[in-house]
């Protein structure tokens, strides 16, 4: 789950990290009122789940309340890398002496937590890693041991920050690690972490991704689930508890298992088509789940054919076939459907489907044949 900057800052503030006062605004009038309460100068910042806001004109300095009005008018509704700005964060402006970078994430190769700290903040860290990798001080933290004060201090020293920032930075990276672990985050990133002219170290931006698997420990994270950016199709699938990712093509895909669903999307592409989605219905393939999946795909206006790719393992072919037949009796589907059914008792399943076959419901023996048929039907 990706947090908006302001949610990330509230998350950090809960662990004692210094952030600036600010308010969320959904309209120009909200933004102006917030700026009046905070007192200019303020920053007007687009809240979207993507980077590159500054370059896209989504972050502006406002010296006066009139400036706030102008910027809010320009930024609300702005499209930043496919994300339309619907909310702003109006924040008290800070004086900046230096800009740093700090983050924690999981290093999947090392199977340890990886902290990165750099005196070159305020720019994309990928660019720093590419051009000047020595400018990033890295620390690998064993989760069993945690980040000790000594290790944090040595790490901060290795990053060559301004000596005036040292103590403040050590304090913040330790709190950042605590937030990362206790908050079950996949990523916590501060870019920039700033040193002010009066030598305070301060959090000026926040990027936080939380682990959705850990919601059972954090019931309050449900509010973040509601602010995830999903397109209409993804929202509908999410409400039905389906594993769905929207794509741009015309062949609707339903498969059981994440790997098989990914593979199905690939095969559609290999035979010259484009999938409209990734959709994993999991192991069961019962009528209710299948009907829900078909409904979501049927509501996608781009879809012109549907490819159902099921491999029966423990779930037998006749159970799958029964699920499909029942689902089709529950929902009216606009597009022709091609089914590939293989695995346990696939023959029995195919026999059950046989009387229902038509030019709207077809059966193909292999994944490739089914993909070709579905792509041809999609035109």
């Amino acid at each position: 789950m990706d947090l908006f900057e302001y949610q990330g800052k509230q998350f950090f503030a809960a662990y004692g990290m210094p952030v600036s006062p600010g308010e969320v605004a959904f309209t120009v009038e909200d933004a102006v009122a917030a700026a009046e309460r905070l007192g200019p100068p303020v920053m007007v910042k687009a809240q979207v789940h993507t980077g590159g806001r500054g370059k896209a004109g989504g972050v502006k300095f406002a010296a006066t309340v009139d400036d706030v009005r102008t910027h809010a008018e320009n930024i609300l509704g702005l499209d930043i890398r496919g994300h339309v700005v619907k909310r702003l964060w109006i924040e008290k402006a800070s004086d900046i002496a230096e800009e740093y970078y700090a983050s924690f994430t999981l290093d999947r190769s090392a199977k340890l937590h990886l902290g990165m700290l750099s005196a070159e903040g305020g720019v994309e860290i990928e660019a720093v890693a590419e051009e000047n990798p020595d400018a990033i001080a890295k620390i690998w933290v064993d989760p069993v041991v945690g980040l000790t004060e000594e290790a944090a201090a040595a790490w901060v020293d290795a990053a060559n920050l301004n000596p005036a920032a040292r103590d403040g930075a050590v304090d913040i990276v330790r709190k950042l690690y605590q937030a990362y672990v206790e908050g079950d985050a996949d990523l916590v990133e501060i870019n920039p972490l700033i040193l002010t002219p009066d030598n305070r170290v301060h959090v000026l931006d926040a990027k936080v991704t939380l682990d959705a698997n850990a919601v059972f420990r954090h019931p309050d994270y449900e509010e973040y689930d509601a602010t995830q950016s999903r397109d209409e199709r993804e929202q509908a699938a999410h409400a039905k508890g389906l594993q769905y990712v929207g794509l741009d093509g015309t062949v609707g895909v339903i498969a059981n298992g994440a790997g098989l669903a990914m593979s199905t999307v690939d095969v559609v592409n290999q035979v010259g088509g484009n999938a409209a989605n990734f959709l994993d219905i999991g192991g069961g393939a019962n009528a209710e789940v299948m009907a829900g999946a078909l409904e979501v795909i049927n509501n996608d206006p781009k879809v012109s054919s549907i490819f159902i790719n099921i491999f029966g393992g423990i779930t037998r072919g006749e159970v799958v076939a029964n699920g499909i037949i029942e689902a089709l009796s529950q929902v009216d589907i606009d597009s022709p459907i091609v089914i590939r059914l293989d695995g346990t008792n696939a023959e029995q399943g195919r026999e059950m489907l046989a009387p229902h076959l038509s030019d709207r419901l077809m059966l193909e023996p292999t994944m490739l044949d089914a993909a070709r048929r579905a792509v041809a039907l999609a035109g």
Binding site: D184, N213, A258, F311, G343, T344, M367
Partner: protein, 295 residues
């Protein structure tokens, strides 16, 4: 031979009294696996279809001599269940449960490495493993696998593993052991662990490796293959068309920052001399060619 488990492996099921644990535990027993015990502190002294339930793993180990554990408990309890198994004397722990927080996985992976270096962990979020004809621990449908050899399978994806087993069986090709390492960010057993074991197993003469997008496990495996593997490897990697920044079902299947793409993984594997199929069927055909060429 097989790797990690065989017909003599005694297994305790943590979560046998739950509906999923019971379903697969009994299926595994029916297949021939030595399902010797279940655990549940509130149901100690009872049984599940004749399989005794003990309060703790330590007690189950003491009474039955179990050396492996299969975990079906819900995600919030997996961390404690893994440590209970290790502390109880188990040396092979299989976690089927999905939805385990990444911080828990990172913690118990490192805790085991530090305090129980002899313990092997498989999973979480994996289908388990099957040594066809000998033992099936987890949720794989046993009858889709042909016993014997000469192929060993290791995979990050459940259904694609079943697909591979099935396609090989259709071609009358047997399997020594099929290991599902799971699709999570911190898998307890890696591709390399399995490749190493297959390389050492005399009955395994070729290996099928099924990868997917995300992380760099396939690239690391490719480097290991290039340096160490004498047996032929056939591979398939799912997710060529996956968009960046989107999790494709599995928690670990995500292309981020331009890293973890299927294309890069396939290139690394090809560079290591691995034959790479464009889809699961093609990978099956390539394996059939490899097997036909074995003397």
């Amino acid at each position: 031979m097989s790797i990690f488990v065989d017909e003599n492996t005694k297994v305790v099921y943590q979560g046998l009294t739950g509906s999923t644990g019971r379903y697969y535990g009994l299926l595994n027993r029916e297949y021939g696996t030595q399902v010797v015990a279940g655990t549940n502190p509130r149901k100690a002294g009872s049984d599940v279809d004749g399989i005794p339930i003990y309060a703790t793993v330590a007690e189950a180990v003491e009474k039955t001599g179990a050396t492996a554990s299969c975990i079906f408990v819900p995600a919030p309890f997996v961390r404690d269940a893994v440590m209970e198994a290790a502390e109880g004397g188990i040396d092979f722990i299989v976690v089927i449960t999905e939805g385990v927080p990444a911080h828990d996985e990172a913690w118990f992976y490192n805790k085991l490495k530090r305090d129980y270096p002899g313990v092997r962990l498989l999973g979480p979020n994996c289908p388990g493993l099957i040594s066809p004809g000998k033992a099936n621990i987890g949720i794989t449908a046993g009858h889709i696998a042909k016993p014997g050899g000469p192929v060993g399978i290791v995979s990050r994806s459940g259904t694609l593993t079943y697909q591979a087993l099935y396609e090989l069986k259709q071609k009358d090709i047997g399997c020594t052991t099929c290991v599902g390492i799971g699709g999570d960010p911190v898998p307890g057993t890696s591709f390399i662990d399995c490749l190493e074991a297959f390389e050492a197993d005399p009955d395994t003469r070729a290996v099928m490796m099924i990868g997917e997008i995300g992380g760099s496990a396939e690239e690391e495996a490719a480097a290991w293959i290039k340096a160490n593997m004498t047996k032929p490897v056939v591979s398939y990697v799912a997710g060529v068309t996956a968009p960046p920044g989107k999790k494709m079902g599995h928690a670990g299947a995500i292309v981020s920052g331009g890293k973890g793409t299927a294309k890069a993984k396939m290139e690394a594997l090809r560079d290591a001399g691995v034959r790479v199929g464009q889809n699961p069927t093609e990978a099956g055909e390539l394996m059939a060619e490899v097997v036909a060429g074995l003397d």
